[in-house]
Amino acid sequence: MEFLESIFVAPFVEMWNYPEFLAELILVGLSTGVLYSLVALGFVLIFKASGMFNFAQGAMVLFAALTLVGLMEHGVPLWAALLLSMAVMVGLAFAVERLMLRYLVNQEGLILFMATIGLNFILEGTGQLFWGSDVKRLEIGIPDKPFDLGPILLNTFDVTAAFIGAALVIALAVFFQKTPMGRALRAVADDHQAALSVGIPLKTIWVAVWTIAGIVALVAGIVWGAKSGVQFSLSLIALKALPVLILGGFTSVPGAIVGGLIIGVGEKVAEGFWGPAFGGAIENWFAYMLALAFLVFRPQGLFGEKIIERV
């Protein structure tokens, strides 16, 4: 009884009694959610354009962040290091297309997925081989000061991160809607064969998609790295992005963003109010359970394409 009460009654009473705490948790959750969305975006981009469930996205985040930090440690100024890391991610995109994707055309999704797990190992190994595996601090000059907004305590860092995330999302939206390349990408996402038949070069598109995913990974790596240091555990945020993906739908850019925010808020609020009843550390699985419960009602996620099946 006591346990049931601590799950079904006590948290809501607490929420009513401490609305500031709830609001604060929601804001923190939103700012974490933006970061989840950033990682999930990389997945969605690649999944849309090549039907590949890219497990290596997390490793790409780690790899990009490690490259940036490593360059800066060797005395390269920030702007040059940024440009160089971007160049590295472009090079990576070319390498992946040339050495891997090209030979895996028309394979089943599962095989592609396993190949990206292989890529995951390669990237993790290479990144740490070149730049070492100890925790590194990433100083890029985002101020980290708490400030008050009414009764709520906020952090300038979280706010900046949220703005960076929002800016990236808007930039991507403009890119997809307005530029010729973006339109070609959407065409490929809709139908490979139709896109090919109107003269869109598939291989170029793949390189472009992987490049964009690489740059998204770089941004995510910078923000996460500045927040918690650049270290091996960065590659594990891929696992955080998965529930975001199934919640939002694998094929939807807005889904990735909304899903990320929902998961971020849900996770923090659950940890804050329900955590004590379970003995803490429920963040690891809560997102998955939330997404799972959600899927039972909407199997294709929030914004995923409706699944139509025929015999």
Binding site: E108, L110, A115, I117, G125, L242, F278, L295
Partner: protein, 358 residues
């Protein structure tokens, strides 16, 4: 010359549907099993402990996952969790019930894993493919968290680990740290042989065929009268049963004691997934070959540089190992996406005509 089925006429349907319809196959498999039982006579303790027992445990798990993924077509990343259920159930059963036969306990813990598998298989009725894969990750994270958090599962011992108690079977000590590696090897091997044989029979019968129908197209299967609910849950149950038994063996016959980390995503779930992809989806023999490959490659990579007198630091070696392993996976998938099972098929076709191909 030696491997051809000419002259082996089947006069009954029974004969035609035998597990090994070709006489030479039958001989080869029996010979292989006998050789496998002889291995402890020549191998030393390190080989048995580090390679052979580990291989047997993972091969069993790979067969379990292959039943679910290769035959029933349901993608699962929760293998580690189901194995953990088996291990913890077995630990609770043997430590809390006096005089329980350890073999019975292992089988019962497989049953517990099957029950958990059914619960986490329920979403498979609504969702498919990668959505299902991510949903099974929920099982992975939730179950390991539960075993870590609730003291009841590890008898509230302060270290938080479970340790296999010494238990005897027919007068021989077969579990716990003091059991000889030979005894543990034979136990695992017997389990593997029995379960592989059972799986082989399962997939050629009614159940296996309905699994394959569901895998190929579940709506069509439903229309011809296969019930998706029962069939999918059955696949989850049997697969989890295999994983649970393998998990119990992992603690009782291989590791001796372990924490939940032994069952985490990368240590177990992904490894077993690699095994069945590299071995070949929908092939029992392939699962075993894949398990051998995935277990031997890292051991080879670790021991190779010292063997040729190359002296490199451990950190460097670890990263190099990772890279080489990743490259091998990608190359293998490009060269032969259907795995060892397909390679074996090709080899067999060649063997039939050898040495006079025309």
């Amino acid at each position: 010359m030696f491997y051809r089925e000419a002259g082996q006429f089947k006069t009954t349907y029974r004969g035609d549907q035998a597990v090994f319809p070709i006489f030479q196959d039958k001989i080869a498999v029996f010979a292989l099993i006998i050789v496998a039982y002889m291995v402890p006579l020549v191998a030393n303790e390190y080989w048995l402990q580090a390679i052979f027992i580990q291989f047997l445990v993972f091969a069993l798990m790979a067969i379990g996952l292959n039943l679910l993924m290769g035959y029933a077509g349901q993608v699962s990343l929760g293998t580690g969790a189901f194995a953990a259920v088996g291990a913890y159930a077995c630990y609770k059963l043997t430590t809390n019930i006096e005089g329980m036969n350890v073999i019975v306990a292992i089988l019962l813990s497989g049953g517990c894993a099957a029950a958990v598998g059914i619960v986490f298989g329920l979403p498979s009725l609504r969702i498919k493919g990668f959505y299902l894969a991510v949903a099974t990750l929920a099982a992975q994270f939730f179950i390991l968290w539960l075993f870590n958090k609730v003291g009841w599962f590890y008898n509230d011992n302060p270290s938080g680990t479970i340790t296999a108690p010494p238990r005897e079977f027919m007068g021989f000590l077969i579990t716990g740290p003091r059991a000889t590696p030979e005894a543990r090897y034979w136990v695992c091997l017997t389990f593997l042989v029995a379960f592989a044989w059972f799986a082989k029979n399962l997939v050629r019968g009614h159940i296996g065929r309905s699994w394959m129908a569901i895998r190929d197209m579940d709506i069509a299967a439903e229309i011809i009268g296969i019930r998706p609910l029962q069939t999918k849950l059955m696949a989850f149950a049997i697969s989890s049963f295999y994983c649970g038994v393998a998990g119990a063996l992992m603690i009782f016959c291989w590791l001796g004691s372990a924490e939940t980390e032994a069952f985490d995503l990368f240590n177990v779930s992904f490894r077993v997934l690699f095994m069945i992809i590299i071995g070949g989806l929908g092939s029992i023999g392939g699962s075993i070959l894949g398990a051998a490959f995935i277990i031997l490659v890292p051991i080879f990579l670790t021991n190779f540089p010292p063997m040729i007198g190359l002296d490199i630091s451990t950190a460097l070696q670890k990263h190099l190992e990772e890279i080489i392993f990743g490259v091998m996976i990608v190359v293998f998938l490009i060269v032969e996406p259907e795995g060892f099972a397909r390679l074996w098929q090709i080899l067999r076709e060649k063997l039939r005509k050898w040495p006079f191909p025309y």
